[in-house]
Symmetry: C2
Subunit: 377 residues, 2 copies
């Protein structure tokens, strides 16, 4: 291919300099124990697999329902809202990106020049690292607001005193429960922030199904609040890409007008609808995962790890004795892949997705072996 | 749900007024003959169905390859380019939207205020009606340039004389073969426009597999040209959402940095890779569809229809005797669904997707019955 002339000048300036979001690695070796991207250790319900398999026929030649009507209907019934309160996305990342496009003016637009809050995307630090990536793509004004000690949600008065929270920001993301810490937030505390904030607040509940409480009710009570959820984690459907948002019909209408008309593929729609029909299967999985989370947490603490309390399907820990990166490497050599964040401020932590009971046993054996070997040397 | 306060003011002004793209209807009644959205009448290759079915297992819980490496590798081999020349999308609509975001400044941005061409999205009229929809979502400056008589591609000197083509537009879409007319364009003529245009030219080849020639080589010879393709039409995979772009690595890198990390679902990746391994199956289908296209075209002309020459899997026609909308209605009453465009300038046309031989027989029988009945009345 001829590359005689660089077409760099054809690309928007702010995009030339972007770094892509770095997803956790997806190694495909079967022997590896993959505890790095918060996937669910259990397969989808047998009925879901069967329904998807049965849909793999001549219909693949046809467009899927562009409105995802069945999925939206099932989700509306599940959450006790109307289908107009629900928008479905190609994973919840699609929802997050749509929210930015619908509610935030690019920082160099006339509207944002007049009123900088109109161009502001704010989120707590640390939280889902995709927000600033999506914000930069859109040329939004990023505003990163520190969480309190041990990842606590600041109160409204703390936010007012701190001065870093923009109560008029066009869009505020709150990951709840928080990732990567796993810390859960009380609905009452979230509500106070939602009520005090004038712009759109998106409660990103990617892990809510593993928590003791969730804030879905706020999406139905506050016209500026929307809640996003995903089928990836709780419902073992990462591969299929289904996420959704619940909120006021006006906000949902805005997302709907800007989404790709066929954003949700047909087999994903089949999988999602069938999933909701077999919720009891998943509830059993949630209970097992929560149980393993607590067991692993206690076992790690006994071995000298600092373990942060988690309401998700993962644990954030500070390992003892040697740097987190070294733990990460030594586990990797044993075929156990967890998540290490090279980013400053996060590099003393390890994040461990909760696997099945036998996987967590293998993980703990690995941890113990490393500890034994480090004592001997 | 409480709706005490309208959150309209939270939505970006230009998005409040948007109309969503209206896709062709997707009726699900089995007896209907669906010739309205240019789907392929043939199912995917049996090997593709089998591969997808076999992939419906515990892996659904895992994230798909975020880089679509296997698909990109297979497409690169297929087109004789490098994987760096290929980006895969959630359907080719995803590619079109990404191109706008990567190359076009919103009209009210500082960059577009300084240089309006930087904010300009141009396309021929008529062509794919999604371009202005995507352009408005992005707040781009739309520039619609008329095609010549009978949907001919204007020459560069005509474009210069006409004054409506912006040779520095940030992004120019050319649907080739054209939709909704079906008219094919010569690569030499496209090349002349690509060479004379300084911005990015996206050749939207959604129907290229049904044409006598295609312009893929231009994507490898001009750093400002990219070609988009889709698995929907030629490869009977609408349901699964796979599209792609081929072009200079710098342009592809820009699309890659702004795309959703997991934009292409896992089963779609399996389907796409397997499709390319069984290309002979699809080539046979192309031949049948082209044959039916020519047969239907001749039969309709004999009955007094004006039929535009087509290089696609559909025909644009002007029906005789009564308004197009009336033909559309009467066919619908017989269970035959074709496409009627209510838009001004297009409302004398009907668009008919080419079905299987038996489907086209049923369609022609319907046409003849309407003609007979209108003679009797």
């Amino acid at each position: 291919m001829a590359t005689r002339k660089s077409p760099l000048s054809l690309i928007r300036q702010h995009i030339r300099k972007l770094h892509a979001y770095v997803p956790g690695e997806q190694p495909r070796h079967r022997r590896l124990l993959k505890l790095n991207t918060n996937e669910n250790p259990f397969p989808p319900a047998p009925e879901v697999l069967e329904a998807v398999r049965n849909a793999v026929d001549a219909r693949l030649r046809l467009y899927p329902d562009p409105m995802s009507r069945e999925v939206r209907g099932a989700l509306a019934a599940f959450h006790g809202v109307a289908p107009e309160n629900v928008v479905v996305g190609n994973g919840s990342d699609d929802i997050l990106a749509m929210a930015i496009r619908a509610f935030v003016e690019p920082a160099d637009s006339a509207a944002a020049q007049r009123n900088p809050s109109k161009g502001t995307i704010q989120y707590f630090d640390p939280s889902y690292s995709l927000y600033p990536v999506l914000g930069k793509i859109h040329k939004g004004q990023l505003r990163s607001v520190p969480l309190g000690d041990d990842f606590a949600l600041p109160t409204v008065s703390e936010l007012k005193a701190g001065g870093s929270w923009d109560f008029r920001a066009a869009l505020s993301f709150i990951t709840t429960p928080n990732a990567p810490s796993g810390r859960g937030y009380r609905t009452a505390d979230l509500e106070a922030i939602c009520r005090a904030t004038r712009g759109v607040v998106l409660l990103d509940e990617a892990y809510a199904e593993f928590a003791d409480e969730n804030a879905m009710e706020l999406a139905t009570r506050y016209p500026n609040v929307l809640v996003s959820r995903t089928f990836s984690k709780a419902y073992s459907l990462c591969f299929q890409r289904v996420g959704y948002a619940v909120g006021h019909p006006e906000l949902m209408g805005a997302l709907d007008r800007i989404r790709d008309s066929y954003n949700v593929n047909g087999l994903a729609q089949v999988a999602a609808v069938t999933t909701l029909k077999h919720h009891h299967y998943y509830e059993q999985n949630f209970a097992v995962i929560r149980g393993e989370r607590e067991k692993t947490s206690a076992a790690l603490e006994k071995l000298g790890f600092r373990v942060y309390p988690s309401q998700t399907n993962f644990l954030l820990v500070e390992p003892p004795g040697m740097p987190a990166e070294q733990w990460f490497q030594q586990l990797r050599e044993m075929g156990i892949v967890i998540r290490f964040f090279k980013t400053p401020g996060m590099d003393r932590f390890l994040r461990i997705s909760i696997g099945s009971p036998s996987e967590m046993k293998r993980f703990m054996n690995g941890i113990r072996r490393i500890l034994r070997e480090s004592l001997q040397s």
